[in-house]
């Protein structure tokens, strides 16, 4: 990243904020599901997978049981495949227990147009039939293009469409932060 662009970055969530938000989301998930026994947490690659793992670990801390966690790649279900060059696929790993009659919590880093989640719902449909599907996101930046809303939100951050929301996670980027880049350079 060049320095001119770095200058336009502002941090909206620090590492501590992210940790607190994921813990709170974990509590909310358990509260709503009345326990952790039926839960399956599925992250959407790339960063949603790491957030899913953190939330699952937090739920295990709270409830004292292991929560099945996996990843769900939605590339093959995207509605914009024909507008871009073919993309490499990410890993899909569904826990061995399956998702039938479970409460599936989808986890993504940023909720924007809602199209990723629509694709994820289609993908889930081919994997099994959950009792319920819920959605947890670290950042809801608005600008929905489909009737989709999150059940658990780390932080609502109103943005303009030209801005970029950048989520940095320790597992990939060596630090935890959510930053907003001015659209002028994006």
């Amino acid at each position: 990243m060049d320095s001119a662009r770095a200058h336009d970055l502002r941090t909206v969530l620090s590492g501590d904020d992210i940790a607190r938000a994921s813990r709170r989301i974990a509590h909310e998930i358990v509260e709503k599901a009345k326990g952790a026994s039926d839960l399956v947490i599925l992250g959407i690659p790339t960063r949603g997978v790491f957030l899913a793992q953190r939330i699952a670990a937090a739920i295990s801390d709270i409830e004292g049981v292991e929560v099945p966690v996996g990843s769900l790649d939605i590339t093959l279900y995207r509605d914009d495949l024909r507008m871009r060059p073919p993309r490499a696929l990410e890993e899909t790993s569904i826990p061995a227990s399956g998702i039938d009659d479970r409460i599936v919590v989808l986890v993504d880093d940023v909720l924007y147009s809602g199209r990723t989640i629509r694709a994820a719902l289609d993908a889930l449909n081919d994997v099994g039939r959950p009792a319920a599907v819920r959605l947890a996101v670290l950042v809801d930046r608005g600008h929905r293009e489909l009737p989709i809303r999150p059940d658990y939100v780390g932080k609502n951050i109103p943005t303009s469409a030209t801005e970029q929301v950048l989520v940095r996670l320790n597992e990939l980027d060596g630090r935890d932060a959510v930053e907003i880049a001015d659209g002028g350079h994006a």
Partner: protein, 313 residues
């Protein structure tokens, strides 16, 4: 990538992208719903001038699992048997809106001609041309080797592969040598001198005439089919002699290291290049090769057709 004509056209990154994509596709085939919406509305034509059941079925299944519409066009009993040229067949398919043509042809180079003659706008996939190439077979072989010998990740650096049999008529051998070289494997071809093509010394591989010398030193051994339909001259005295000198029988198989896998592109001639004991042994991975073929062809079709047309050109 717009066409897949030769295994030699793939650089290491492109080959690994196909293998990694195939790995994800193969995970999908364990699901109860084995269908993806990815190529909905796209049309794939299987244009088969030469008989082939397994390759055609494999491509057909791959296209259908990705929700593409599939048209099977066999030369026998079609306009081709009435004397239609490749060009006119191609123009017909283009007029019908084929997004990809999977072609198997008895002439080496036919897929290249189809891809470069400006007759059709879609992608061309070589499903075997004459004695030239069969790139998706090489990809599925590499995929199978990677799964057994490299835990399904990365390239094949240091993997030693023996390819035994009718190299002269084998498009499988040529494609495999090219792809395996790209992926860093070391290939030794084993055949009687009469079944090696002219210019073999320029291929990026070793050549041996004695199978027993090679077996103890390989991680994978690939037995090629003796293609009697292409054997118009006398390449070896008798089938029995070939089988005795080059056939993989149980006793020979025990020369292989314990971890080594036995491969065959199919269809096999049991009792000729491979004995029933070997074909049915635990080291043989032929059934898995068939399953992997579907995954690899799904990956190829997705990477050729899944994205925007203008950009992938």
């Amino acid at each position: 990538m717009r066409h897949l004509l030769s295994a030699g056209d793939l650089d290491r990154d492109a080959a690994l992208l196909i293998l990694d994509t195939a790995a994800e596709m193969s995970a999908l085939s364990d699901r109860s719903v084995k269908k993806l919406p990815t190529l909905r509305g796209r049309t794939v034509v299987n244009l088969f001038f030469e008989d082939s059941t397994r390759t055609r079925i494999s491509f057909e299944l791959a296209a259908k699992r990705l929700s593409a519409d599939v048209i099977n066009f066999a030369a026998k009993g079609s306009s081709v048997s009435k004397g239609e040229s490749l060009k006119d067949t191609a123009l017909t398919l283009e007029a019908m809106g084929a997004d990809a043509v999977v072609i198997r042809h008895w002439d080496s180079g036919a897929p290249y001609r189809l891809a470069h003659a400006d007759w059709i706008g879609g992608s061309v996939v070589n499903a075997g041309d004459g004695t030239h190439e069969h790139p998706t077979q090489a990809l599925l072989d590499a995929f199978t080797m990677r799964r057994h010998l490299r835990e399904g990740k990365g390239d094949l650096r240091g993997v030693r592969v023996g390819i035994v049999g009718d190299v002269l008529h084998s498009r499988v051998a040529r494609s495999n040598v090219l792809l395996l070289q790209t992926l860093g494997a070391e290939v030794t071809l084993v055949a009687p001198p009469t079944l090696l093509p002219i210019g073999i010394e320029h291929w990026p591989c070793e050549v041996s005439y004695r199978i027993d010398d090679v077996l103890p030193k390989v991680d994978a051994i690939m037995m090629l089919r003796v293609q009697s339909e292409r054997m118009k001259d006398a390449y070896f005295p008798t089938a029995r002699e070939y089988s005795r000198l080059y056939g993989l029988v149980g006793e020979r198989m025990r020369l292989l290291p314990e971890h080594a896998i036995v491969m065959h592109p199919g269809p096999m001639n049991r009792g000729m290049e491979i004995s029933a004991e070997v074909a049915d042994s635990a080291q043989s991975v032929m059934v898995e090769q068939v399953a992997n073929g579907v995954s690899v062809r799904m990956a190829v079709l997705y990477l050729l057709l899944g994205g925007a047309k203008e950009l992938s050109a």
